[in-house]
Amino acid sequence: MSLDFLFILVVFINASIGLGVFLHNPKHKVNQFFTAFVIFLDLWMVSNFLENEPGIVGEKNLGLFLRLDFVSAILAVYMLFRFCSNFVECIIESREFRKYRVALFLTVIFLVTCSLFTPFIFTDTSFFEGTVTFRNGILWPLYALILASLVGGGLTLLLRERLKPVFDEKSRMRHQQITFISLGVILSLSNAIFINFFQGFYPIDLEISRLGLYGMTFLVAFTAYAIIRHHLMDISIIIRLGAIYALLFATITFLYAYLASLVGLYTLGSLTYIIPSLVITFGFIPLKRLVETLTDRTFFRKKYSTETIIAELNSIIHKSGLNLDELLENFNRLIMNFIRVEHAVILLLNPQGEFVSHQPILANNRKLILGRDNSIVEHIYKYPESIIDKDHMVDVPHEKLIGELTQLGFALIMPIEVNRQIMGLYLITEKKSQDPFTDEEINLLRLIAAESGASIDNARLFNELKRVDEVKSKFISIISHQLRTPLTSIRWNLELLLNERFDKKERQELFHQSYQGALNMAKNLDDLFMALDIEEKGGTARLKKELVNFHELLGETVKEFESDLASKKLHLDISVPDKLPALALDKEKIIHVLAILLHNAIAYSNPVKEINVVGYTNTQDDGIPYFVCAVRDQGMGITPEDEKNIFSRFYRSEEAKKHSPNGYGLGLFVAKYFVGLHGGELWYTSHGPKKGATFSFSLPLEQK
């Protein structure tokens, strides 16, 4: 009787663990096969038990349970094999091996059919001295071979994975998991198969032969140990589910028995069974909920609830307020604490439509940027409701997406929306346990994303305002600094004219200098206000187009630089075709652009070098002709660091500061804007550090 109790306990524990593992992540194949394995294992045990109990099932049914014994045995080991091959991510599970998997499955189904309906596997069933006996059928060797191969195969896969070298923390943990599972498989299966194989040859006491099958619990126990010790699956959830179902089972049994005996007191015939059944049927769901709450309250006080999360979120928003850095850090920490992930990162949308991490998170201190063309970003825009989850999107169309995600080192991406506009992304790494995310956790993440969005957006706007404010301060400091030099020049020249005596020629030179200083101030102010206009309002300048001869325009611009060229002994080489159509453009603005390019080429060239100005016309792919002007220098060139910022306002490269410390980094910013107004583009080609660079701009030729 004690062994019978042990039997029920083993079956029940197995079932609970199997169910727990399945519910933990129903979409994951490892979980699916593990659960299927445990279910067939239970069936195997149950039928193995019942085939020897004529008192329970009746003597004529013993044969049926023997058949079920054989069926569930082969199915259990098949599921075990697939669990192993999925667990080690064996090549067998790839798409190319599909036909082999189908063949194996059909073989197993064939053996199942034979066991159920034919005498080929075993025959001549009889009940003798309290044990069921049979003779091996013609296909018995095949059955035994397949059974042994599946077990051996699964074990080999595990051991092979175990022998692979350890290369990181994850693989080390995997090794330990496999050790435990393999140990469980070896102990339990060898035990069971040994007894099943040899009971045909040597009579063994029934209780002992049954113990053989109970030995399967080794596997379950060892896998459970691997789970507890190394988080193969999230143990807290399995324990929780196990506890819930155990309590539920007990409560229902008790309730049913109690009600039946209660109703039985009034002897209402068949109603004795119907009334309790009805009560149980309608009461099941509320009962389950009650049991869940009870277990959660008793054992899982710390388990996250919506209320706790919202309270945490509010406290973060209250505490961090408009401090974006702190806010993001606290939200990330909240996620890391509640879902126990290694790392969480928030990317925010910038005006260029890219998602950029607020802090540098990549190697060499770079920020992570996902551009518009990134397939993850594309997917998010296409399905803003969706969450990209490595483990829940295993189907083929998402292979590329998941590949990209894995490459970034994250397991889940979720959009942050404010007023139905995506303004950021949550990027979350794998859980510390390496488990997939549960539905509950995903819901939790959705909640956090939804609740945190508005406050992140507010802080971001505040940050943006602060930045604009900083730009203005910088603008003022640059104005004051940048206007000083020409102002000093004007003052000093006029001072000389007032206080000293000069001859006519000298006087003229001093007047000319004052005038130049005033022009210079006016130009600097224009540039600064233009930059501020572009910065604040996206640029409000209008074009005043006229037909212009480019040769004349170029000549006019170059004249301004003659003295600069001469003082650095630079040679300017111009190559523009004679026959150019007149260009419709805003003369002042294009002179401005050319002047900036020439000024830079001269300022950043070492003496005695050459500067080339090349002009040519070309045709776009869509047939629209355009004109290109390129200014090439042999100066300091562009470093990779400069490339990102070269067109940003106030940006000056380290090299540039060395060459010309008084510039203020607005030239290219404004020039790019002017060219853009014309529908053209401004770009550069770097020939390498110290080898110079070419800055070119294109202007579409208007067709008449």
């Binding site: 102002l487 000093w492 020249n493 000389l496 206080n499 000293e500 000298e506 010309s660 410390p661 008084n662």
Partner: protein
């Protein structure tokens, strides 16, 4: 009448607009003016042909004024040259730093009349040529 060589002034300044009035007035007072438009060139000139006075800008290409001052004051050959800073930088930290490094005087361009600079030079470094024998 004893004819002595005039005081030799090196101006290290990259801005043409500032150079012209400076040079004009100093030459008018018969100083021997030499001009270098970048930091390194200025330092090398000072080392090769040490002048009596250097008018030094601070924000310069290739090498800034502070570095030049440091180099000059380290080198026994150039240590005795009087360095007068004439710069746009008007913050206390820059002024203190330059004076600590051994600048003899510091003028902030925007706050200074040209005549003040000239008066200072005429007073501190009188040209022997000006003296009547």
């Amino acid at each position: 009448m004893l004819m002595q060589a005039p005081q030799k002034i090196l101006i290290i300044e990259d801005d043409e607009m500032i150079l012209i009035p400076l040079r004009t007035i100093l030459e008018k007072y018969k100083f021997d003016v030499h001009i270098e438009k970048d930091g390194l060139g200025g330092l090398q000139y000072a080392q090769n042909k040490p002048p009596n006075i250097i008018l030094l800008d601070l924000m310069l290409p290739t090498m800034n004024g502070f570095q030049i001052l440091e180099e000059l004051k380290h080198d026994p050959h150039t240590r005795q040259i009087s360095v007068v800073v004439v710069s746009n930088l008007g913050d206390a930290a820059s002024i203190e730093r330059a004076l600590d490094l051994g600048a003899r005087e510091y003028f902030v361009k925007s706050r200074t009349l040209l005549s003040h600079i000239v008066q200072y030079i005429l007073r501190e470094f009188p040209n022997p040529v000006e003296k009547k024998a």
